[in-house]
């Protein structure tokens, strides 16, 4: 098992507890052929509990998406068994093609080709709204 023994890969740490699986789907980790581990409800000093994703390969990550989930997430890049980089995502201004607008009256509901785009409208409360219909992302 890869827990704790990644040689070349990524550890996504401090994922809000309960959102690891959602992130697993968003990042398309189900499509990887390498080993991937999701650890749920790991003890966390700061917030009680957290989720962790371990990926046994260095892949390109969508940092806007990570920032949208939570800017407190940390991404550790592991090479040769050593952590070579630690990165924090930032709250993105816009997020493209990941979250879907759920409003049945939105133009994106009838035209499948349109890219779903959400824009940050309230930084303090981390509110994102569909650029087409202003529906709030949930």
């Amino acid at each position: 098992m890869i827990i704790g023994t990644i040689v070349d890969g990524i550890v996504i740490d401090h994922i809000p507890a309960g959102r690891g699986m959602e992130l697993y789907g968003y990042l398309g980790l189900d499509k990887l052929s390498c080993e991937v581990a999701l650890i749920k409800n790991a003890p966390s000093g700061k917030r009680g509990k957290k989720d962790i994703l371990k990926i046994n390969e260095v892949i390109d990550l969508n940092f806007d998406l990570l920032g949208y989930i939570d800017p407190h997430i940390t991404v550790n890049i592991i090479r040769g068994g050593e952590r070579v980089e630690k990165r924090h995502p930032v709250l993105p201004e816009e997020i493209h093609g990941v979250i879907k607008c759920k409003n049945p009256r939105c133009i994106t509901a009838v035209e499948q080709e349109i890219e779903h785009i959400f824009r940050l409208t309230d930084r303090e409360n981390r509110v994102y709204r569909c650029v087409y219909c202003d529906t709030r992302a949930k």
């Binding site: 009256r105 133009i107 035209e111 080709e113 349109i114 087409y132």
Partner: protein, 304 residues
Amino acid sequence: MRSLIDIADLSVSEIDELIAKAEDIIADPDKYAEKCKRKKLATLFYEPSTRTRLSFESAMLELGGQVIGFSEAQSSSASKGESVADTARVISCFADIIAMRHPMEGAPRVAAMNASIPVINAGDGGHNHPTQTLTDLLTIKREKGRLDHMTVGCCGDLKFGRTVHSLVAAMSRYEDVDFVLISPEELRVPEHVRTDILNASGVRYRETESLSEAMESLDVLYMTRVQRERFISEADYVRLKDTYILTPDKLETAKPDLSILHPLPRVNEISVAIDSDPRACYFRQVLNGKYIRMALIMKLLEVE
């Protein structure tokens, strides 16, 4: 190249400029008779709205321009399944500016992202209708001589009434404007209007179920239609549609210089007995709609 999709796309000073331009057009329309000569407006109406379409078209004609377009989806390429994006690209080859009405929210935004000419949102479902808001602002400015220091009452369907939400958002940017929101419990303004507009701007507002009680404090009364298509159940619609009807006796306590607005068409919210009252502004409001659209078309076409 700019488009107008949401009233929030315009700053207060841009709105004030548009209003000043419209007032100048009203004062001397001949000066503007050839401003858009050889320019074409495409009215792409995916759902019928004859009043809005004719307002845009007459605005363009009075600027010396020409008009092409369609007035319902059945007669357009949309019925063959063409996307809004493709239609916007194609029409960009034929016209100089687009006015789009569409039943789906955000369709004019999609058009603006793909067109190479300016796009004006002429109403997208229950979402935005910025030229209606500009019309309302011009009307209040002309009737009152100002857009600040007043109490504005909004009455009727405040839940689904997008014209009210936009008007409140636009007016709350002016100094010392108070709102009285008059509606039945079921049709109060939605939470996002309360948090994102009213509380965010810090304006004074109060909510009441009584039009009569609010009347004496009002400088402007904005009446709205309770629309059948916004209701899920016919029973709810029938029960609420007659809740607030403005009749001459309700105006007894009103200020002598009250301005009564309505985005039209009305069903029965305003008794026809009020039409002859000088405080009724809603037909002048229609005329103002043409003038503000003239000012807007000129601005977006960058015609001086």
